[in-house]
Symmetry: C2
Subunit: 464 residues, 2 copies
Amino acid sequence: MGEEETKIPKEELIRAIDARDGSALLAAAEDIHYADLAHLYENLDDEDRDFFLKTIGPELATDVVAELPYPLIEGALNHFKPAQLRVLLGNLSDDDRVDVFQVVSEEAQVRFFSLLGPRDKELTRNLLKYEEDTAGGRMTTHCGRITADMSVKQAITVLRRDKDSAETLSRIFVVDDQARLVGKIRLRDLAFNTWDTPIRDIMEEASEFVLATADQEEAARTLSKYDLVVLPVVDEFHHLLGVITYDDALEILQEESTEDIEKIAGISGEQSEVSYLNTSVSTQYKRRVTWLIGLAFVSIASGYVMYRFNNILGQAKLLALFLPMVVAAGGNSGGQAATMVIRSMALGEISTGNALRVAWKETRTGFFLGLSLAVAIALFISLVLPHLQKTTGSAFDFAHLALAVAIALTVQVLSATVLGALLPIFARSIRLDPAVVSAPSLASTVDVSGMMIYFTVAGAILHL
Amino acid sequence: MGEEETKIPKEELIRAIDARDGSALLAAAEDIHYADLAHLYENLDDEDRDFFLKTIGPELATDVVAELPYPLIEGALNHFKPAQLRVLLGNLSDDDRVDVFQVVSEEAQVRFFSLLGPRDKELTRNLLKYEEDTAGGRMTTHCGRITADMSVKQAITVLRRDKDSAETLSRIFVVDDQARLVGKIRLRDLAFNTWDTPIRDIMEEASEFVLATADQEEAARTLSKYDLVVLPVVDEFHHLLGVITYDDALEILQEESTEDIEKIAGISGEQSEVSYLNTSVSTQYKRRVTWLIGLAFVSIASGYVMYRFNNILGQAKLLALFLPMVVAAGGNSGGQAATMVIRSMALGEISTGNALRVAWKETRTGFFLGLSLAVAIALFISLVLPHLQKTTGSAFDFAHLALAVAIALTVQVLSATVLGALLPIFARSIRLDPAVVSAPSLASTVDVSGMMIYFTVAGAILHL
């Protein structure tokens, strides 16, 4: 992207806002994509936002508002007078309008709804029936739609009438007289065929579709898997309700990836639509504090094991040197396994039916990982440690210490790996998001087992 | 997706392969999307793969091969005789063909290259100049391309000639007589304008483009930000070289998300193109073992701190109860902060210039998190613990223990949060991927500081 070229209009825009210069603002705004205008808006203070929105007017403001992070939308709309708001809400594409109604307060919902025309009212009411995160909640009803008995010429006439409202015409869907989806056709097939060709003869089967009640992620994955620009959304009677487009799929998959990454790190709650820098400290705090405090109490269990076995540490002081290692190795290896499995589930590669295959694969992987780690550390203890630590007062030899640490590491890594891989699958099987198995909660759990394994093995081998 | 409908042809296909029944296989394959055929292929053994590929023939095989995970491509191509291979390689779209050359062995590169026609040879050689992960390495040169001085009729004639080879015609690019990008137009604008309209009058400015040498992620983010179906790729003289399409963007962003998720979990190396279940145990092992062993040695530092301060644990046994908590709270809060920042950088929300704002935000967030945790645990120690733990032999009172743990928790969480947020920014500033700051490596680091903070604070307050 020509970063250096786009920077200048942006600076001019900021200057125009600071100077409250309406015509300079309009001139600058003309050269900036509305996605970038929305980004600039995010970083303005409230007075500047007011001036900006009132100056660009409801037409351009429609495009900007549609690009805003959800929490900023209601505030932006409140800058407009009812007459302007009526234009703006009418201009919004139907899926963006539904998004607005889904994110504003109830008071605003009622007020905004009263400003809609009768057709938009009905459309919005129908679309609001679908949950926000379903295919129906994300779809637009504006799509190229023709019937099989039309000729190419009739089809072009119909589509020309709709061309401004249709979200995309690169795929056009063919319905029967009951409005059921029967086929699809590309605009290029219309452009490159004679005008009397019947649509029926050139349409293809519409074999990819999604139910309106399906999860939005399923719709996005289908679009992605089959490289579709547009995916039709149908009801249980196969009526064509609308379409989901490639840009929705991009957005959905990015949102889901962010959500998974955050969950794995033990960050809870809804992913904020606002960018990191514009998210308040209190929101950041709220999303992290629950896990932190919960995990802290889980850690008391590890502490209790340590407290109970404290006499072993007193008798063989060198054991302390490897306690954090055995404990952490479980968290690390379990976290790796859980992450692999959670991501594979998100990409649709693993389902709960694969639990046994996953368990067997991770048993072998975990065993070899644990063994490698055990050998590396045993060598360190037998060969390096005696030179570093000549003045130890411990009563046992390094070979026994090496053996104890090695056995504990193998058992700890193997069990944590298998547990880390299976917990997300178990979560899915009881209809939870696999990513609830966050890496920190897994680590806190295997910390406890790690302490017990280490003290038990060391106690037995070193006769403590 | 009509899961129940698509299942049956898939089962028929498997049965046909098992029975070595060629015509049944062909009949079943006809009803299955090639993306699904590629997925089925992945799960076949080598003999079945051979029968499958030879039966479906080079035409359909082209589509299937283009969808295969990279590591399986060379093996698949080796099932074909040179004459068939020539057809298959010629059928591939130019970006898929370049992908093939980028992933096969050198021996196969030479052999496959000799089978290409002269035009494909030159095209492939040109495209191979670009690194695999740049816009140039991902682009296809097949795109709708017309000049500004054409009429709509001339443009349609040119495009009709290219219509099968062009990846997408929903955006057509306009070049000048030097092949420099000057504008863009939509197919619908051709379809809905009179035949004598000059292209110059109806074309728009092509203000979004990407340099061929730019990172593929930049191209994908631009496509996503501006909701584009097609993004033109140019060289430094603004010559139109090719396009990147929405489906490339989807793939790139999914790959990058997976890579980030894995890196954060301490999984190294190239993300495998093969699905989890088809990845060998040895590959899984190799990607995880380096971090595990490296982190284990880092943990010896924590162990050393514990070993040195062991006498404090001996004097005040109850301190052991909260040691794992203080230590883990640092890893957890640091991991949360690092994850937020790494993801925000991946989404382009934060750059290195924002380091101070991030530091200030995380200082406040970290302070409040640490304080909340401190209060919760101090209350637990003062109010709950005395009832659970009446027979303690320790010489100090619970109020002092509560104070020591609370101070240690606050310092540990605050410092780990700020460190976790700043390390990814620091990594970016020295041109490393921010996600190298994996959660486990951060945890192992703050484990050491956590131990030292805890023992120092406790030693001072409890006079040990």
